[in-house]
């Protein structure tokens, strides 16, 4: 049994988000307590972790994340990040973070121009940030993807910086969407903001067959704990 106080995560809900309950279930299963934070609210006080979940904020109209980045909560999010708070953007959350300029680059439509819901294998390429601090480089994880716009793009300078600072955290073993350098997940320079296209919360339950999402979430919880 843990003796410490449980970590407390806020899950930001935009109109059109749909993975918020799934993220809560997964975080609860690694002993993190969760609360939902409506996109109109202005505070993220008292949270150890903030998750922007998957879904279709504002219907993904115009571009995924294009409207969501203007929500009142985003100002609080910037402050939270500036103060070293840890933020995880999953899928649509990743898209929102890039649109808001909190992560570099952009997510374009999949090369095959189709929505893709399938399991993929990703490889851990960096363990500098808290998200994978406890995972050896080269670890392979089975994680589901579920997106139409997961094709990561950035300019060459940005790419070089991402590579040289260890900001590329996860790469696809077999690229499903045309993503530049097989990128599946990156962090910001400080390492406290991560965006990833795969859904770890969909791989946390024996009954649903794959459980490698637990590996990733446990690693995060472990780093936050210590």
């Amino acid at each position: 049994m843990r003796t410490r106080q449980a970590l407390n995560a806020g899950i930001v809900v935009f109109p059109g988000s749909n993975c918020e309950h799934d993220v809560a279930l997964a975080l609860n299963s690694v002993n993190v307590t969760t609360q939902f934070v409506w996109h109109q609210s202005c505070s993220l006080d008292g949270l150890d972790l903030v998750v922007l979940p998957g879904g279709f904020a504002h219907g993904d109209y115009l571009r995924p994340g294009a409207i969501a980045r203007f929500s009142p909560i985003m100002k609080a999010l910037v402050d939270f990040i500036d103060n070293g708070g840890v933020v995880l953007g999953i899928c649509n959350g990743f898209q929102i973070l890039t649109e808001a300029g909190l992560l570099p680059g952009a997510l374009c439509k999949n090369k095959g121009l189709k929505f893709l819901c399938q399991n993929t294998k990703v490889r851990v390429c960096s363990n500098i940030s808290p998200f994978t601090a406890n995972l050896p480089i080269g670890t392979e994880l089975d994680l589901p993807i579920n997106h139409f716009s997961g094709n990561y793009i950035c300019d060459t300078d940005t790419l070089n910086e991402l590579e040289s600072h260890g900001q590329i955290v996860l790469k696809y073993v077999a690229n499903p969407n045309g993503s530049l350098h097989d990128i599946a997940g990156i962090t910001n320079l400080d390492g406290n903001v991560m965006g990833l296209m795969p859904h770890p919360e969909r791989a946390c339950d024996e009954l649903c067959s794959i459980t490698d999402g637990m590996v990733l979430l446990n690693s995060l919880v472990h780093s936050l704990d210590s």
Partner: protein, 749 residues
């Protein structure tokens, strides 16, 4: 206004005059035109549908309301409903299919259930046909491909975005659907039974409130002109009938409505579908035994200058009707504001006078524009007993059995052609949202944990499968329909679930054709018989007539969606990962009968013959035996024998598991490809237990041939079946996975 242009016939116009005691005005005519259309009134089918068995102790709401509701215990209800969107999808596949998804989802949450899963049953003309040399084949193939791609992208777009996973379905290719695809969508919902709400208006003075999107000119006349007549080549003139979906509005509507229901703020909730506001309001009033006044000036319109008849019959998407006690209105308003949902109180519930029947009145401010007895639009709509007679070629159809066809030069090559995997389709659907999907698509049925944010601790699960077989039904609609029900129930039990109830979507040609009506009646009788013998009830359905193109009717296509229950997830479940080294046991007979088989149709374009016999009592025993075997953990996996026969069933399991098989017993192409019903492959490491369980059950009664036998084992990297088939698993796997993308000329990324 010309009543004929509204789809009304002379007799109907006369009845309207009788009902009103005067000539109807244009608005009233438009309302009758919508409500008395085939689509809204079920006038050709109602008489026959009444035969279906619909009641059982666990049925809380049967057919007739927005969704069927089943009590699965612990205070949990499961809502289920199926609907077709064939005609809009034929014209604009992406938006047509998308709005079909939106529509069925609204049916589910209007009962107070949270939509938890979708299944889509799709049928298209051929895209895979190999002799593409002929121009018309090529043109058809191009059109069919366009329809397939558009329909799948529409379901993917709307379903994924609205946040309801699409967990299963079926996909059929047959030339009878060229230009007239079938798009049937089933939605499942989950609710605490105490949140159940009906689509009914009650309470004199209660407000009639519209929620959601504004009302535009799109979809006007949708039910009377689009869904209630066939296609001829001028289909383009029907353009305004197609609508545009808005999954983002749909998603916010779900959340807002469920929150309103959780706070117990309304007495009735009804979605706006075919027939628009006219249909929603008159049906709600009929169910509640009240009248309704609607003020068209209060309806939020998208365009200026909309006529009252346009407002009353518009089929704009993403709209709901709530019956709200005035004292709760401000609370409802507040919730809607938070979800950015527009709302407007457009009318009031009125109590009928002591002697008078409830009225449906349309007002413009103080001016009365229409005044109609409510029930004349709904329960008193015309009822037809259309003439019917068997098709003149029925006899011919049952002659010429596929037994006369030459044996394959290579059974392996034929098997490859029958392997059509659907991953190209379901990969485009979010099938995992809510973390309830206990197995990925590709199996006989989808298995879902019953859990939602407000029902977190249930141990129950449901399985669901949608199935159809138009070839069977064209040979013998009665038995074909019974076999469809039997297969659907068996699919559900292959996941270990006990089949409880079904919904049916009856897709037929023009009911004014006597042979179509005959097929329809036979199909309803066949479903009825199968339900009685398999202890199933029908809790909802939909009829889609006028599936015809240039006067050619589609083959009769009843789509059956069966729901089964697993009482506790603590029981063992099927697990494909465990089958390595298992014995393969065939439950049911090894038979050599190719009537109605995919082999005859796909390989030889042979569509005649008689169906193999169906023994429904035996089938019920098989289902019981199978669910017992799974729940006691004796078998690791089960897969029923259906399209493509034993050959395809064996190959599919091998492909899905990644392990080959070696099978002895099968000795002829007839045995390999027969689709005789009531057969299942079970995979087990305890074959003797399976055989003795089969022996102990009633299962063997009345037959001399073995009803359970070990036919092979799971091993290796080949699919080996007797002397007939020796295929490398990798070749079979790529044929299976690539059949659709290859036919579409796509490279898989």
């Amino acid at each position: 206004m010309d009543y004929k242009a509204l789809g009304l016939v002379d007799d109907e116009f006369d009845s309207i005059k009788d009902i009103l005691g005067r000539l109807p005005n244009n608005l009233e005519l438009a309302m009758y035109g919508a409500m008395w259309s085939e689509h809204c009134s079920y006038k050709s089918s109602r008489l026959h549908l009444a035969k279906l068995p619909t009641s059982a102790p666990y049925v809380v709401v049967g057919p007739g309301d927005n969704a069927g509701i089943i009590d699965v215990g612990d205070g949990i209800g499961v809502a289920i409903r199926i609907e077709s969107h064939n005609h809009p999808s034929a014209l604009e596949p992406h938006q047509g299919a998308a709005t079909g998804v939106g529509g069925i989802i609204r049916d589910i949450f209007s009962a107070g259930a949270r939509p938890m899963a979708l299944c889509d049953a799709l049928a298209f003309g051929e895209i895979i046909k190999r002799d593409d040399s002929l121009d018309n084949v090529l043109n058809n193939k191009r059109q069919n491909s366009w329809l397939l791609q558009g329909v799948v992208s529409g379901i993917s777009w709307y379903g994924n975005s609205v946040g309801v996973p699409t967990v299963g379905g079926e996909t059929v290719f047959d030339d009878c659907y060229t230009s007239n695809p079938l798009v049937n969508v089933l939605c499942l919902g989950i609710l605490p039974l105490k949140r159940l709400v009906r689509g009914q208006a009650t309470g004199d003075g209660n407000l009639v409130v519209m929620l959601g999107a504004s009302t535009g000119r799109d979809g006007i006349g949708g039910v009377s002109t689009l869904a209630s007549s066939g296609f001829v080549d001028d289909a383009y003139t029907k353009r305004p009938s197609v609508q545009i979906g808005d999954p983002y509005e749909g998603k916010r509507l779900i959340e807002a409505c469920l929150e309103i229901l959780d706070k117990n703020l309304i007495v009735g909730l009804q979605d706006l579908g075919g027939g628009g506001l006219t249909s929603a309001a008159s049906e709600a009033a009929t169910k509640g035994g009240v009248g309704i006044d609607i003020d068209v000036t209060a309806v939020i319109t998208r365009e200026a200058g909309m006529e009252p008849f346009e407002i009353m019959t518009s089929e704009s998407q993403e709209r709901m009707l709530a019956i709200v006690p005035p004292s709760n209105f401000s609370q409802v308003e507040e919730i809607c504001k938070r979800w950015e949902i527009n709302l407007s109180a457009v009318g009031k519930v009125t109590a009928p006078g002591a002697d008078a029947s409830p009225r449906f009145r349309i007002l413009r401010g103080k001016e009365t524009l229409a005044d109609i007895p409510v029930r004349s639009l709904t329960t008193q709509a015309p009822l037809l007993d259309r003439p019917s007679s068997p098709p003149s070629d029925l006899h011919f159809r049952s002659q010429q059995d596929p037994a006369i066809l030459p044996a394959p030069t290579s059974c392996g090559e034929d098997l490859l052609k029958l392997l059509v995997g659907n991953s190209w389709i379901y990969r485009q659907y979010d099938h995992q949202l809510f973390l309830n999907t206990l197995r990925l698509p590709g199996h006989d049925s989808a298995l879902l944990r019953l859990r939602s944010p407000d029902i977190l601790f249930s141990k129950k699960a449901v399985a669901v499968s949608v199935d159809s077989n138009s070839l069977w039904c064209s040979l013998d609609p009665y038995q074909g329909a019974a076999m469809t029900v039997a297969e659907s129930a068996l699919n559900v039990s292959c996941a270990g679930a006990k089949p409880l109830a079904l919904v049916d979507c009856l897709n037929f040609g023009n009911p004014e054709h006597e042979e179509v009506m005959w097929q329809f009646k036979e199909v309803v009788n066949g479903i009825t018989q199968a339900c009685l013998d398999l202890s199933l009830v029908v809790v909802g359905g939909n009829v889609s007539f006028y599936n015809e193109t240039n006067e050619r009717d589609i083959e009769p296509t009843p789509v059956v969606g069966t729901l089964g229950l697993i009482q506790s997830l603590e029981q063992p479940l099927c697990d494909l990962k465990q089958i390595k080294g298992d014995s393969i046991v065939l439950l049911g007979e090894l038979v050599d009968h190719l009537g109605g088989s995919a082999w005859a149709k796909v390989i030889h374009n042979h569509r005649t013959g008689h169906l193999p016999p169906l023994d429904l009592r035996f089938h019920a025993d098989l289902i019981r035996l199978l669910t017992d075997l799974i729940s006691s953990g004796i078998v690791h996996y089960a897969h029923d024998v259906s399209a493509g026969g034993l050959g395809v069933a064996l190959a599919e399991t091998a492909i899905l598991s990644g392990i080959g098989c070696e099978v002895g017993t099968i000795s002829s192409h007839g045995q390999l490809f027969s689709e005789a019903p009531s057969r299942v492959l079970v995979y087990t490491d305890q074959p003797n237990k399976v055989l003795s369980a089969a022996r102990l059950s009633n299962f063997n009664l009345g037959s001399s041939s073995p009803q359970a036998q070990v036919i092979g084992e799971v091993d290796g990297e080949f699919i080996k079946i007797g002397n007939l088939v020796n295929l490398s698993l990798s070749k079979a796997t790529s044929a299976f996975n690539l059949s659709i993308p290859n036919a579409l000329g796509e490279t898989v990324c």
